[in-house]
Structure formats: structure tokens, C-alpha cells
């Protein structure tokens, strides 16, 4: 067996989600090689070579791989796939974008968002927003897999000494061009990397009131999230959404403020180690999963919490 893990990176460093994907690949067994495809991504390639347990790093450094356009990246991965039994990536917005393309071009099924490795062809994955866990076995010789970011302990980012090899293949499908991005620059940790998250729901009433959470978040070094209801209501942008259709998180502490606890939201956060719910409705379903519940008006409780920290 041999695994090719396609890395998430920003040309400078490797994202934490990739350390989780590598951990899954190591559970599958066999060598783990990492592909870093980008433009001006030599530093990310070097960083990948220092990751624990990596055998070889392939660096495809070319303008056509800038911004990981799915059409070009998929063709590159398909060309490299001949040498590997398992093609692995994280369930990131990039992995979700290009990996099904890889699978279709190889004429194999994709196993999306695995949460456990049972054997080299059998995996667990959540379905129905995490309301059921399916154990699935693929009959395809080549396995294309995306890995849930919260399901495995990441491997160490340092301690390895993999060889670095350049990949010359230039695949330009000429189908799409990147124009611009608006990546929110935060002083706070990213949602999927934060050890503490405080999230607001419909109970926040408007976007302005999220400032209440910001002050608490700054004191705790926490990231700020939101329920789909808060996003749909236009309080906050979609990249803050935690849930089935947003980000899947599992921090040490998750504080749900004014969130009722719809199953779509619980699907995104119920693997958190400690859950706190603050809600004035004592029947809110969020209390059924919370370790500590406080039945209170958030507009009183959150400033009090802020003052006590």
C-alpha cells in the first residue's frame, strides 16, 4: 500500500487539516507521500518534508496550480495516481472541490469525510448530518478518500526528514481562471484550529450584538462561530457557520449562545470536549448535549461572563 496525501497549503506553510489527513493515511498503512501543488510553493514543500512520518514530498510548482483550480489539480493528481493505492486529502473547501474530479477521472467511487479507518478498504463516515455513522467498504482497487478534520489526532508538524522531489508535469485544462479572493483576516484563531469557540445563534438578534461575543472571545483566545440561523438571517458571514453545511469543529470548549441546537448545528460541534449552552429557553435541544447549561437571557449573561473572565 502507498498513500498520496494532497496538501492544503498557502505556499508558505501546510495547513493543520493536512496533518490530520496524514494521520489517517498512516492508519491505512504503507508509505505516505505528500503532494504540494501551487505557484511559488517551495517553502510549503520544505515544511511538508519536516512533517512526522512523511516518506517523500512531491512539489509541483507552476502558475497553473496557483489557487488550486480543480480542473488542473485533478489532472495532475490523476497522472501521479498510478503509483498509489490511496489518494487522500482533507475535507477542506479545496479537497471537496477537486477530489471528486480525481475519483471520476479514475472511474472509482470517492469515500467522503471519513471519521475512522477500519481497514485499507473499509471506513466509517457520518451520514445524515452525523445522525448516523455508516461503515462502508469500497470494491475499487484505488481508493479516493477525504478525511474529516476533527476525527484523527494530527501528526507532528516537525520531526520528519522526507526527500523533496520536483514534479514537472504541467496540466492546464484552460477551463477556469482565478480572479480574486476576500479572505477574512482575523486576529483570532481560525474556527477549525481553535481550542475554544464561542458561537452565536438567532438569539443574538442582529450582527451588531456579536460584539458581545468578541469581547469574551478576546479574553479566552477563542474563535467566533455562528449557527446557520444566524447566517441565514444575515447577522454574520457564512464562513463563520458551524454545522452540517458549514464547518465541523471539535474544540476543547464550545460555548453556544442563543443557539437552539438544530440537528444541523449539532452535527458540526457535538464532538467538542466540553459544551456550554446559554439560552433563555429551557426546552432548547442544545441543553441535551451541553455539559453545562445556563438558562438565562444572553444579553445579561454574556456581559456578566465577560466581566468575570
Amino acid at each position: 500500500m502507498s498513500n498520496l496525501v494532497v496538501a492544503d497549503h498557502n505556499n508558505e506553510s501546510i495547513k493543520a487539516s493536512t496533518l490530520v489527513a496524514i494521520a489517517a493515511a498512516r492508519e491505512i498503512g504503507g508509505d505516505v507521500d505528500v503532494l504540494v501543488a501551487g505557484a511559488g510553493c517551495a517553502a510549503a514543500g520544505e515544511a511538508a518534508s519536516r512533517i512526522e512520518g512523511v516518506n517523500k514530498v512531491l512539489v509541483a510548482d507552476n502558475e497553473v496550480y496557483a489557487h488550486q483550480l480543480a480542473e488542473n489539480l485533478a489532472e495532475l493528481v490523476v497522472e501521479l495516481a498510478a503509483d498509489y493505492s490511496h489518494i487522500v486529502s482533507s475535507t477542506s473547501s479545496s479537497g471537496k472541490n477537486f477530489m471528486p474530479r480525481v475519483a471520476a477521472l479514475l472511474d472509482v467511487a470517492q469515500i467522503s469525510d471519513i471519521s475512522a479507518v477500519i481497514s485499507e478498504d473499509t471506513f466509517e463516515r457520518p451520514i445524515y448530518a452525523g445522525n448516523a455513522i455508516a461503515t462502508v467498504q469500497t470494491s475499487d482497487a484505488k481508493k479516493v478518500i477525504t478525511v474529516r478534520g476533527t476525527a484523527f489526532d494530527p501528526v507532528a508538524a516537525e520531526g520528519g526528514s522526507a526527500t523533496v522531489e520536483a514534479v514537472d508535469a504541467v496540466k492546464d485544462a484552460g477551463l477556469s481562471t482565478w480572479q480574486k479572493e476576500e479572505i477574512v483576516k482575523l486576529d483570532r484563531p481560525e474556527l477549525t484550529a481553535a481550542s475554544i469557540i464561542i458561537s452565536g445563534g438567532r438569539g443574538m438578534q442582529n450582527g451588531e450584538n456579536f460584539k458581545l461575543l468578541e469581547s469574551v472571545a478576546d479574553k479566552l483566545g477563542a474563535a467566533i462561530g455562528a449557527s446557520r440561523a444566524a447566517v441565514d438571517a444575515g447577522f454574520v458571514p457564512n464562513d463563520m457557520q458551524v454545522g452540517q453545511t458549514g464547518k465541523i469543529v471539535a474544540p476543547d470548549l464550545y460555548i453556544a449562545v442563543g443557539i437552539s441546537g438544530a440537528i444541523q448545528h449539532l452535527a458540526g460541534m457535538k464532538d467538542s470536549k466540553v459544551i456550554v449552552a446559554i439560552n433563555k429557553d429551557e426546552d432548547a435541544p442544545i441543553f441535551q448535549v451541553a455539559d453545562y447549561g445556563l438558562v438565562a437571557d444572553l444579553f445579561k449573561a454574556v456581559p456578566e461572563l465577560d466581566a468575570l473572565l
Binding site: L69, A70, E71, S92, S93, S94, N97, F98, M99, P100, R101, A103, A104, V108, A109, S112, T122, I127, Y128, N131, A132, I133, T135, Q137, S139, D140, A173, G174, L175, S176, K180, E181, E182, E190, T192, L220, V231, N238, D239, Q241, T245, K247, L253, K273, V274, I275, V276, E282, F287, Q288, V289, A290, Y292, G293, L294, A296, A301, L305, L308, L309
Partner: protein, 250 residues
């Protein structure tokens, strides 16, 4: 231009899904079935493009059992012009669905294909991308803004950490994210009108597609249950518990 929209029949998003006691799957008996919510957004986007005069025809396609006609009919009531059902009793997986859709795309030659970003049953998020690969077309997944031009479309995508804008050559596959639009409800006159709109039925075999599943589900289990904890009376007590009992803040 013609737009092709895909719809999947799934358990309604309000249903609390239960795992069967023999662990072979989830209980679908007497459960409300609906159009996958992301596919409703796809229909809405296509109908708005037609209303804006940018598109002449909206064709809606589904792959599944004969009762998927209910969801196609709903899509017709929402403004699609005609339907196609690729009928099979096989539990078709994303790769098989993408192959059926590829055959439909070859026949219909749409200028744009809009699909939901994921179905809320399998949560795979594969079909649109697989269709794009099989048809050799460009893709713009997780779209929150779609601007349709003559030969290309400009799409703003929801990505980790923010938004990204790309331009894709037409024909293209666009998969919908939540904020692309807010779907309408079907009006009664439109529901009546939809009954007269045509639905073309064919089988995967008619299209020359093998939909044999590649992935076997060995078992389906409920997730590990989380116990409800304690209700604290005051914010002081909460902070004390977090510091001294759970030890998650200092």
C-alpha cells in the same frame, strides 16, 4: 441558453433521522421526502436566470426510483419547463448518478448545469464535480454569487476563511451554497400548471450507463450519544465549573 438543474429526493431536512434497529440503514418508512434543499436553491437560480431573460429553457433531471417524479413535479411548479427522470430502483451512488447525468448532458447540450453542493442524506458532496470531470467541463463549486455571461460565468465561491471569485468557461457546472438565493414557494396556480408539463422517463440502460454500486454499506450505527450535563444557576457558577471542574479555562 438551456440550463439543466439536478434534483435529488431526500428525507426532509426537518425529519429527525433514526437508525434502524438491525443497523442496515436509517428508517425511511412513512418519512416525509422532499427536494434536497441545495437543489431547491439550484432551481431558484435557474428560474431567476430565465425570468431575467438570460436563459430560454430550464430542464430538471433526477436519477432514482419512479417516486422521484414527485420532486420533479415540485421543481416544475417552481418554474422549470420540463423534466427528465432516469429511473432505477438501484440505490445509485454519486459516480453512477454523475454518469447518468453525463449522458443526459450529451443529449441536451445545456449551456449551464446547476446542482446542489451536497445532498443532505449521504453528505457526499461529489456529484457535481464528478459530472464536470466526466463531461470535461469547468466547475464552480459552493457558489454564493453567479453572474452569467455569453461564453463564461463569474462565480463567487464560499471557501474556508472567506470568498473566492473565479471565471469559468461555458458550458460549466455550478454547485450551490446556501447564500446564492432564497428559494420561493410554489403557488397553487403554478402547481396546477406543473401537472401538464412533460416528464421524460428513461433508464440508465437506455443511456448505456452501468450504475452498479462500488461501495457497500456494511452497517449503520447511531452516533455515540452525548449525555446532558448539569444546569448551572449563575454565571459565577458556570465560570467556576469551567475553571475548576472541566479545567478548560484558566
Amino acid at each position: 441558453m438551456k440550463v439543466l438543474v439536478t434534483v435529488k429526493r431526500v428525507v426532509d431536512y426537518n425529519v429527525n433521522v433514526r437508525v434502524l434497529s438491525d443497523n442496515t440503514g436509517v428508517d425511511l418508512n412513512n418519512v416525509k421526502m422532499s427536494i434536497n434543499p441545495f437543489d431547491e436553491i439550484a432551481i431558484e437560480e435557474a428560474v431567476r436566470l430565465k425570468e431575467a431573460g438570460k436563459v430560454e429553457e430550464v430542464v430538471v433531471v433526477s436519477v432514482g426510483a419512479s417516486n422521484c417524479q414527485e420532486q420533479i413535479r415540485t421543481a416544475l411548479a417552481l418554474g422549470a419547463d420540463r423534466g427528465i427522470l432516469v429511473e432505477t430502483d438501484e440505490a445509485v451512488q454519486p459516480l453512477g448518478i454523475a454518469k447518468c447525468l453525463k449522458a443526459v448532458v450529451d443529449k441536451e447540450q445545456p449551456g449551464l448545469i446547476i446542482t446542489g453542493k451536497q445532498a443532505i442524506d449521504g453528505d457526499n458532496s461529489q456529484t457535481g464535480q464528478m459530472l464536470a470531470a466526466l463531461a470535461g467541463l469547468s466547475q464552480a463549486t459552493f457558489a454564493s454569487v453567479l453572474e452569467l455571461g455569453e461564453d463564461s460565468a463569474t462565480v463567487t465561491r464560499e471557501v474556508d476563511g472567506g470568498l473566492e471569485t473565479i471565471s469559468v468557461k461555458l458550458p460549466a457546472i455550478v454547485t450551490t451554497d446556501l447564500r446564492l438565493n432564497e428559494p420561493r414557494y410554489a403557488s397553487l396556480p403554478n402547481i396546477m400548471k406543473a401537472k401538464k408539463k412533460p416528464i421524460d422517463v428513461m433508464t440508465p440502460a437506455d443511456l448505456g450507463v452501468d450504475v452498479t454500486p462500488r461501495v457497500k454499506t456494511l452497517k449503520v450505527m447511531p452516533p455515540a450519544a452525548r449525555k446532558a450535563g448539569v444546569i448551572v444557576e449563575t454565571v459565577e457558577e458556570l465560570v467556576d465549573k469551567l475553571k475548576n471542574e472541566a479545567k478548560v479555562i484558566s
